[in-house]
């Protein structure tokens, strides 16, 4: 099978995966007990039937389920995410407003975690069995077991409340608003703690992957040969081992980026960061189903797209992958 055929196959697979994932959520949400109108407008006792009827018509809730399902899917295929129950505005616009804020957190922290985790992993492998290695392993193990939101709370208490080094929550300083370049610096200042939290939570995975594969590389023949020839360790690590261990953490980075669209929700909640996660939680609380499903569709599409692109890239890099297992 040629690489084009393979890519097409993966794309088709991805397409159906997305549709299946969307179908699950559609029926979950639409079979839910309770009319969303009552959640948003209040008790039916106080609503005039005309209002209820108007919104039922407007949101298409009077149509049968299968009809709504096909409308939903076909709208999505055209990139139309519908309108928010709460704000009335298009969902796509809401998401577009919040997305950059979330991405600025997750991309930054993932990249920092990738770099730091990889370097620490290499360092640990180099000092394998010694105290540096043990300390790093223990620390990452512990951070791996700490729920992100808890770490966030602790960091907020330490740096925000007691040391007063960083703002506790929010996106910017509302008391004395800044303009121009200072505004961006202010946002970055507020983003510090959420990014730190996310980074600390993400490092262990990168560290472990890199350390374990580097340790495996150390016993390979080529390392022994280089050592015998008299190459010093730091050069072996920089030039040769790094190349051999860098692929798995890159894969991890790509996968994580997909998931991180939604994954930061808890931490955004701790720090009051108005990103996608907050939008998601708010829309869940307010039963704003179109927004909920819009975010869901965005996230799932991103994850599937990234994983399928990775599959194809691997297919190009390593033809054995294509023929399978």
């Amino acid at each position: 099978m040629g690489i084009v055929g393979y890519a097409v196959k993966k794309a088709v697979e991805g397409f159906f995966t997305i549709i299946a994932a969307l179908t699950i959520i559609f029926f979950l949400v639409n079979l839910a007990p309770g009319n969303p109108i009552y959640f948003i407008a209040g008790d039916p006792v106080f609503l005039s039937p005309a209002v209820v009827e108007y919104y039922t018509k407007l949101w298409g809730l009077d149509k049968p389920l299968y009809y709504r399902y096909f409308v939903y899917i076909s709208n999505l295929l055209r990139g139309e995410l519908g309108r928010s129950y709460r704000f009335g505005g298009p969902v796509a616009q809401l998401i577009a407003e919040r997305l950059p804020l979330t991405l600025s957190l997750t991309i930054t922290s993932n990249i920092i975690a990738f770099v730091v985790g990889t370097l620490l992993g290499l360092l640990a492998a180099r000092k394998q069995g010694r105290s540096t290695d043990t300390t790093l392993t223990v620390f990452t193990f512990i951070f791996n077991s700490v729920p992100g939101f808890l770490l966030g709370i602790v960091l907020m208490l330490v740096f925000g409340v007691h040391l007063k080094l960083f703002p506790v929550a929010g996106l910017m300083d509302l008391k004395n608003p800044k303009t121009g370049i200072m505004l961006y610096l202010d946002i970055a200042y507020h983003a510090f703690l959420p990014i730190l939290t996310l980074t600390l939570i993400l490092i262990p995975a990168y560290f472990k992957t890199v350390r374990d594969s580097a340790v495996q590389q150390l016993v390979e023949d080529y390392v022994t040969t280089f050592r015998a020839v008299g190459l010093d360790d730091s050069k072996i690590f920089r030039k040769h081992i790094l190349r051999n261990v860098i692929l798995p953490p890159i894969t991890l980075l790509a996968v994580r980026l997909g998931f991180s669209l939604a994954g930061a929700a808890l931490i955004e909640n701790v720090f009051g960061w108005p990103g996608m996660g907050r939008l998601l939680l708010d829309s869940i609380r307010e039963r704003d189903y179109p927004v909920l499903m819009g975010i869901y569709a965005t996230v799932v599409t991103a994850i599937v797209a990234i994983s399928k692109v990775l599959d194809v890239v691997y297919g190009v890099l390593d033809p054995r992958v294509k023929t399978g297992r």
Partner: protein, 256 residues
């Protein structure tokens, strides 16, 4: 480590501590000899609540992980053994669940159907089984090529008998080790969901207590920090056990 906690959790009802919802103490009192971990905003003793929380969190973790492994092991074995149409269907199910962020799906589930302890267990299990199913499938696929399986077939054993009597016992150990890690993951997930206020409001789980302590985080940080410390302690010990087991049973998987 974990054992002491487990025993404590089992014994709480008989230890003569104040009832976990009784509000007989001063509000937001800091830790003192009378209330070792202080009290919360309703004047409830934190020591009792945290220990009851251990009960709730551990139980949800155990049940959810147990249910997830049962689903995962059964579906994984079937899809690994029958590579035909059934296998494909289960495979694609696993794939679909793998692209849905589990936490996201669990959130929606709880919001849509309301929250209770049983539902939490089911929701966590339903969203986390694919991991175990994948491991089980890979294991079954490799075990079923072995000679003794062919022997069993030659003697005339039916497919299901071969699968569950001969293949599964050989394939199951790594899945079990993963199930133990899964307990930790389930506890974290429960804590996260409860932290968002989606837990069972009637019982104090650790996540729930942290959530309730959040508004007082500056004036009374112990409300959130004490259960948080217990949470981390528990998960670290569960992960240690799980990883240790994994290293013994399946060194190859542990290295990933």
């Amino acid at each position: 480590m974990l054992l002491t906690l487990g025993i404590l959790a089992l014994c709480v009802p008989y230890m003569g501590l104040p009832y976990f919802n009784s509000m007989e103490f001063p509000r937001l009192a800091p830790p003192s000899p009378k209330n070792v971990f202080g009290t919360d905003h309703l004047g409830r003793d934190m020591l009792t609540r945290v220990l009851w929380g251990a009960r709730v969190s551990l139980m949800i973790g155990l049940c959810a992980a147990g249910l997830a492994s049962v689903i995962g092991i059964i579906l994984g074995s079937i899809s690994g053994y029958f590579r035909g149409r059934v296998g494909t269907v289960i495979d694609s199910l696993i794939n679909v669940f793998q692209v849905i962020p589990a936490f996201f799906l669990a959130l929606v589930f709880l919001v849509v159907f309301g929250s209770s302890m049983y539902l939490l267990v089911v929701v966590i299990a339903v969203t986390t089984w694919p991991m175990i199913a994948r491991i089980m499938r890979a294991q079954v696929m490799s075990v079923k090529e072995r000679l003794f399986v062919e022997a069993a077939k030659a003697v005339g054993c039916g497919d299901l008998r071969v699968l569950f009597k001969h293949v599964v016992p050989h394939a199951i150990p790594p899945a079990i080790a993963y199930s133990i890690l899964e307990i930790g993951a389930a506890i974290i997930m429960e804590a996260g969901l409860s932290y968002l206020g989606l837990g069972d409001p009637n019982y104090p789980s650790w996540g729930r207590i942290i959530y309730e302590g959040q508004p007082y985080i500056i004036s009374a940080p112990w409300i959130s920090l004490v259960p948080g410390a217990f949470l981390v302690y528990t998960i670290v010990s569960i992960n240690l056990i799980g990883n240790g087991l994994l290293k013994v049973i399946a060194p190859k998987l542990a290295q990933r």
